[in-house]
């Protein structure tokens, strides 16, 4: 797949990925970016995550609070809400169904062109 395709895929699932990360533990913007990359989404953009966080927050899927700090900037932390959990469950369900459908398609392809299998 080209990088363009990957980024389009990512856009589709980023909401779910961000929700999942924040559900595990509250985090501030860059923290979420780091954790997403550590989980394997290496080419996720900082701006994409920040924008997604704000949008999820505005939509009520996330809550936010500021942690003051004596040295360095105050950090704005995000935490998941009930609505956010519900959204995440829905996303998981959608993804699993999508995955099943695509798996089936790809398996058919494999069966028909055995020489392409790695």
């Amino acid at each position: 797949m080209t990088s363009m395709d990957r980024s389009q895929l990512l856009r589709g699932v980023l909401d779910a990925a961000v929700l999942a990360v924040v559900r595990r533990a509250d985090g501030y913007g860059y923290d979420v970016v780091r954790r997403l990359r550590a989980a394997g989404l290496t080419d996720v953009g900082d701006a994409s995550v920040y924008g997604t966080l704000r949008r999820l927050y505005r939509g009520g899927a996330l809550t936010s609070y500021v942690v003051p700090s004596d040295e360095g900037p105050h950090r704005r932390y995000y935490g998941i809400t009930e609505r956010g959990r519900a959204q995440l469950d829905e996303a998981r369900a959608t993804w699993e169904e999508f995955e099943r459908t695509l798996d089936a398609l790809l398996q058919e392809e494999e069966a028909m062109t055995p020489e392409l299998t790695a």
Partner: protein
């Protein structure tokens, strides 16, 4: 949030982002930019390399935040031509050269003004300096005045001590225009220079005979015995016929012809017919009282 601790490149990046998001409500923008600070700290000295251009970053922020994209930016209105010229460094270079050479113009414009003001003056010293009052010293002083004034104005203008700069520039241009639009002045200036040649030429020739500056209109020859002669043909030292110069015009003048039939104008005394006739009334008339005695 303390942005004072950000390195210069990061602060500049943040400022650029703020500009890209300028159309958003202030609190929305502030919250978006809040997050970015941490990225900037991570990015170190080259935010653009790590985060992409501010424009692209801001666009992605908007898109993922579900915000409408920025209104397409209008191209900045084209600067008027004279403003672009003003900014161009070549203009500055040209102006500085012109400024250096300005004293030449100060002298030239004084000379132009002087010539324009003294065009009526015919008489000059040595063909160049106009003779105004007749006193050479005074005339030199008077003529030096425009030069002194022009140089003083130029120097004061340079020190920015004079107001109304556009007015002075307009006056200079008007002076040049006067010169261009009045070709007569140019000819006069040229004429002034060539007058010096004519000053030493011979006095203009006058047609006809003169004796001691007085015009001669007739000649009465008498022989040794005191008799008036007629149709005496006279020639000068070069053998040229003496012509009083009025012969061709006067219709009453009695014509004299040579054997070949050509009219002669050097036969004296010149006789005139009575008007309307072809008779000379008094062929022996002489100026009143003229009665030369016989010589022997």
């Amino acid at each position: 949030m303390s942005s004072a601790t950000l390195p210069a490149a990061a602060a500049a990046y943040l400022a650029a982002l703020a500009r890209e998001l300028a159309d958003l409500p202030a609190d929305e923008r502030a919250e978006l930019l809040e997050e970015v600070e941490a990225s900037l700290v991570e990015a170190g000295d080259d935010p653009v390399a790590r985060l992409g251009s501010p424009a692209r970053f801001a666009a992605e922020l908007r898109a993922s935040a579900g915000l409408p994209p920025a209104a397409p930016r209008q191209a900045p209105p084209r600067e008027p031509l004279w403003q672009r010229l003003k900014r161009d460094p070549r203009t500055r270079a040209a102006l500085s050269v012109a400024r250096e050479l300005a004293p030449i113009w100060w002298v030239a414009r004084a000379a132009l003004l002087l010539m324009l003001l003294t065009t009526g003056v015919q008489s000059t010293y040595g063909g160049i300096l106009p003779r105004l009052t007749g006193h050479p010293g005074l005339d030199v002083l008077i003529c030096a005045l425009p030069f002194a004034a022009s140089i003083a104005i130029g120097l004061a203008g340079r020190r920015r001590a004079l107001p109304l700069r556009p007015l002075r520039v307009a006056a200079d241009l008007a002076l040049v225009a006067c010169l261009a639009l009045v070709p007569g002045q140019v000819n006069d200036i040229r004429g002034r220079a060539t007058q010096i040649v004519y000053a030493t030429a011979e006095p203009a020739r006058q047609a006809g005979l003169t004796a001691s500056g007085v015009a001669v209109t007739n000649v009465y020859p008498y022989d040794a015995r005191g008799r008036l002669l007629h149709d005496v043909r006279l020639y000068d030292q070069n053998g040229a016929p003496l012509d009083v110069g009025r012969g061709a015009q006067d219709p009453n003048r009695r014509p004299v012809f040579n054997p070949a039939g050509a009219r002669l104008f050097n036969a004296f005394p010149i006789r005139y017919y009575d008007p309307g006739t072809d008779r000379v009334a008094h062929p022996n008339a002489v100026p009143h009282g003229l009665q030369p005695k016989p010589l022997r």
